[in-house]
């Protein structure tokens, strides 16, 4: 993936804005905050022009939408993204959300086993919310994060996730690799995004929504090298205060006779198939605000 297609690793917003949002959710109804946010979305689309265009192209080219529908879709996409961010602050402020679990028999059975496993997430839906709503007391989950998150976000997130036995590992320098290695050796869960290149240019090519795209080789290499189970995890906003958390098991018995490269390609193809299924059902919850496809 070329440099301009790599994600910068930064979140928007200043520290005081984040703190103000958390305070707001303690006193204001969620609907009012959503309404205020909806008024801001068009301006954000104008300011973040490249991001808006990336979503417009995604809706037009990948979902075959006409210009007007794609334009409206951009608004709803940005609104839903904003709502998912607001839900994060609502969670920090103590608000609760309903969560429906799908495919969790696989996840629950992997948690009960002694070995670790890898959980692949993506910038689709609201992966962070699943961390707040689900807990794995028996097995610690280690979520790999980008180092440039704002401190108010991280400190609140750390607090909430700690109660759910989730540790954040910041992908900064090389130290995190040793922590990750130890976590897997100790039979813990490692959750890592598999849809953006960051820190390494090595990639696998898969077909997502009918077109070739590059996804990072790292997570698949990790799974293939260590022979660990792999799931793909999604958490989709289904309503005002509700989410659906979905798990797909990606590794299968057929992999036993495959070479390492074949295993990587196989897992990547199954991850892409899961992404395709999710985006077919929730096309507007795609949050990669850059030109994702080659």
């Amino acid at each position: 993936m070329s440099e301009e297609r790599q994600w910068s690793g930064k979140t928007d917003g200043t520290l005081w804005m984040h703190k103000a949002l958390i305070s707001s959710f303690k006193i204001l109804p969620t609907g009012l905050i959503y309404f205020i946010m909806a008024l801001v979305v068009p301006f954000y689309m104008l300011i973040n022009h490249q991001g808006y265009l990336a979503i417009y192209h995604y809706l037009r080219q990948r979902h075959g939408q006409g210009p007007l529908k794609a334009f409206c879709g951009c608004f709803f996409n940005h609104f839903l993204f904003g709502a998912s961010l607001m839900d994060r602050f609502a969670a920090y402020a103590g608000r609760k959300f309903r969560v429906q679990k799908t495919g969790f028999d696989v996840f629950d059975s992997l948690v009960e086993q002694d070995h670790g496993f890898i959980m692949l997430s993506s910038h689709i839906g609201n992966a962070e919310m699943s961390g707040y709503m689900l807990s794995t007391p028996r097995k610690r989950m280690n979520a790999i994060t980008f180092p440039e998150e704002k401190s108010s976000v991280r400190s609140n997130r750390d607090r909430m996730l700690e109660t759910n036995n989730i540790r954040l590992i910041s992908a900064d320098g090389m130290d995190w690799l040793f922590t990750l290695n130890a976590a897997l050796s100790d039979g813990e869960i490692v959750s890592i995004h598999a849809d953006r290149l960051f820190g390494s240019s090595k990639a696998l090519t898969v077909k997502i929504l009918g077109a070739e795209a590059k996804i990072p080789m790292g997570p698949f290499n990790l799974a293939a090298s260590r022979g660990l189970p792999v799931t793909a995890s999604f958490c989709m906003k289904t309503g005002y205060k509700s989410y659906e958390a979905i798990q797909y098991r990606l590794d299968t018995p057929e992999m036993e006779t495959m070479s390492k490269r074949e295993k990587m390609d196989y897992l990547a193809a199954r991850y892409a198939a899961a992404v395709n299924e999710i985006l077919g059902k929730w096309p507007l919850q795609w949050y990669n605000f850059f030109e994702f496809w080659d």
Partner: protein, 85 residues
């Protein structure tokens, strides 16, 4: 020690799928990351797995690990001193 260095080079080439390289192409004191061999984070995890599977060495201390992976010489010295297999 020379045999161990050769063995490490062969295992690195195999683990990282460096198809166009031979052990003679890897200098003993050249950096493994960034410059020299130019390995990255994915490769680092592979090297950790290589150490664990082949030599019974589990690297979980970043301060220690970064020095181990400085060069083939550094890796060989560490393996020689700490291997359990």
């Amino acid at each position: 020690m020379e045999n161990l260095k050769l063995e490490l080079k062969e295992k690195i080439i195999d683990a990282l799928n460096l198809v166009d390289m031979t052990p003679a192409d890897i200098e003993d004191d050249a950096p493994l990351f960034m410059e020299g061999l130019g390995l990255d984070s994915i490769d680092a995890l592979e090297l950790m797995l290589l150490m664990e599977k082949n030599y019974g060495i589990r690297l979980s201390n970043p301060a220690e690990g970064k020095n181990v992976f400085k060069s083939i010489n550094a890796m060989a010295e560490y393996v020689n001193a700490n291997r359990t297999k």
